[in-house]
């Protein structure tokens, strides 16, 4: 199952390290990563691959929720299909 991890917020040190570390610890493979400043906000978008579907997703979301609070960011994990179905015919 492929999912998109989106991190939006004020830029600071260690965001990528923190997020990718959580993904690594949960056995999630990062397929693609892009980072940009959009409307003055640090925006990182990762395409990741969950080998073990639902259980891994749940624990990753919990860990990322903690990171979200700690770093003052907004982090979303959503299955890729939501974006492809909305924006591609």
């Amino acid at each position: 199952m492929k999912a998109v991890v989106t991190v939006i917020g004020k830029d600071r040190k260690g965001i990528i390290a923190k997020v990718s570390n959580i993904l690594f610890e949960n056995g999630v493979n990062i397929l693609d990563i892009s980072q940009t400043i959009m409307q003055d906000m640090f925006t990182m978008i990762m395409l990741v691959d969950f080998e073990n579907e639902t259980t891994a997703l749940k624990s990753v979301v919990e860990k990322l929720d903690e990171a979200e609070k700690e770093l003052g960011l907004s982090i979303h994990v959503q299955r890729e299909e939501i974006f492809t179905s909305m924006h591609r015919i």
Binding site: A3, V4, T6, I8, D32, S34, T36, M38, T43, I45, L47, T54, L57, K58, V61, S74, H76, V77, Q78, R79, E80, E81, I82, F83, T84, S85, M86, H87, R88
Partner: protein
């Protein structure tokens, strides 16, 4: 990889513009539960609903978590209960209320938010069971929390059953008085339809129609806030641009509904029925259909031009949505429930929005006079006459119309009634002081219009 701007757009729609899936509604046929003995019927109904819908809520929550799209309600719609009442040995009000309580218990066991289908279709005439079921509606709604009821009193093909229209005025008054302690809350769970649809996922009017299968998943999307925000970016542009913008937005919203519907259908092993394209508002600021109309350039919803604005909105939503889903159905239009829409509440409080204007608006959108609080001393005949007017609009225009009106006991014009949750806040709107009693008391049937003769 998907374009980052598109990803951010989707996230913004969900986080800031209140995009959500309003409901996943599982339709369950209860035809197999019919029988002469009430105890057996209740047991079969409970067992069937709790077995078919046992994973509905969990599946909804899983989809919500994995796709990051809020799914506000999970609901169940069932075969009109009048079908069960008709099969009973001796249908009585008490027996019908027992079935209502069974539905309520089954809904609570499965964890859904509402169960719809305590219904009867009497657009031409009543059967014995239908008559008893309608009589039992006030007690059934007062005795349950999650059961929703609807009655179809007219259709383009059959005309309007004016005996049923007359009866429903009294039923609504009785439902209000039985729930006087909650300001007539039972009436918020009761809809009177003309041209009711069989696959509607929205409450209070959802039921599983005669032509439907054993079990089906229907999905209703919601996104007035997204449409409003999209229109903010085309301020001052002409109506061609406005319509295009709404179409594109509706397409995206509906695609999300289609995705969720397919996913739910796959996980539950239940056929996918339809996606309902309706724009359904909530009382949350930024989730209002009225604000879309105001964004088009009206100072207040309800002023001159509102009907035209709504007609454009309703049409563009359909045009955009229809390509996004394999099967579109249900009510599919913009809803204008007064108490559930922050902009409508404000407009009604300030006197910009009247019952007459709302009636005109229902000619060009789904569904009808919805969630409107009227003074508690309004007569049953006046309520019946309001229903008759609305049914006539539906009958002649070959569209669904409905009346969900609350004569809140003790409430007077200018008061405000709080229902809470999705049902919101209702300013009490004035009705005409002149009597319609003699008209309503004629009874009989208004013949089907010329429009019905299409063969």
């Amino acid at each position: 990889m998907i374009n980052p701007f598109e990803i951010i757009e989707t996230i913004k729609m969900i986080d800031e513009e209140n995009l959500d899936i309003r409901t996943i509604t599982m339709g369950i046929s209860l035809k197999s539960c019919a029988g002469p003995d009430i105890e057996t019927v209740c047991r079969k109904v409970y067992d069937k609903i709790t077995s078919y819908a046992k994973d509905l809520v969990k599946t909804g929550e899983d989809i919500e978590a994995q796709f990051g799209i809020p799914i506000i309600h999970k609901r169940i719609s069932v075969t009109p209960i009048s079908t069960l009442a008709d099969a009973l040995d001796e249908p009585t009000v008490e027996k019908c209320v027992m079935i209502a309580k069974t539905l309520d218990r089954a809904a609570k066991t499965t964890g859904v938010n509402f169960i719809g289908g305590y219904s009867a279709l009497v657009h031409k005439d009543y059967t014995r069971g239908e008559r008893v079921l309608i009589e039992s509606i006030p007690q059934a709604l007062a005795a349950t929390d999650l059961v929703c009821s609807s009655v179809n009193v007219g259709s383009t093909r059959a005309g309007i059953n004016m005996d049923a229209v007359k009866q429903m005025g009294g039923i609504i008054k009785e439902a209000a008085s039985l729930t006087a302690d909650t300001q007539g809350f039972a009436c918020a769970k009761l809809v009177v339809f003309c041209n009711a649809v069989e696959d509607n996922p929205f409450m209070a009017g959802a039921f599983l129609g005669e032509g439907e299968g054993e079990c089906v998943i229907n999905v209703g999307v919601s996104g007035p806030g997204v449409v409003k925000c999209a229109l903010e970016s085309v301020k001052g542009a002409d109506f061609g641009v406005v319509a295009e913008t709404i179409k594109k937005t509706a397409f995206k919203i509906t695609r999300m509904g289609q995705l969720v519907a397919m996913e739910a259908s796959k996980r539950l092993g239940v056929p996918f029925g339809i996606v309902d394209l309706s724009l359904a508002p909530t009382p949350a600021v930024g989730d209002s259909v009225a604000y879309i109309l105001e964004e088009m350039g009206l100072e207040k919803c309800g002023t001159h031009g509102t009907t035209a604005a709504l007609a454009l909105l309703n049409d563009a939503v359909k045009k955009g949505g229809v390509m996004a889903s394999g099967y579109v159905g249900g009510l599919s239009g913009a809803f204008i429930p007064v108490s559930e829409d922050a902009g409508m509440i404000a407009a009604a409080k300030e006197g910009a929005l009247s019952l007459e204007k709302l009636e005109a608006m229902t000619c060009v959108c789904s569904v009808g006079l919805d969630m409107i609080v009227i003074p508690g001393d309004t007569s049953a005949e006046t309520i019946s006459a309001i229903i008759a007017d609305e049914a006539a609009i539906g009958m002649v225009n070959t569209k669904t119309t409905a009346v969900r009106i609350i004569p809140a006991p003790g409430a007077k014009e200018g008061d405000v009634v709080e229902f809470g949750g999705l049902l919101g806040t209702g300013p009490v709107m004035p009705v005409k002081k002149y009597s319609s009693a003699e008209f309503i008391n004629r009874g009989g049937r208004i013949p089907a219009p010329l429009q019905s003769l299409k063969n």
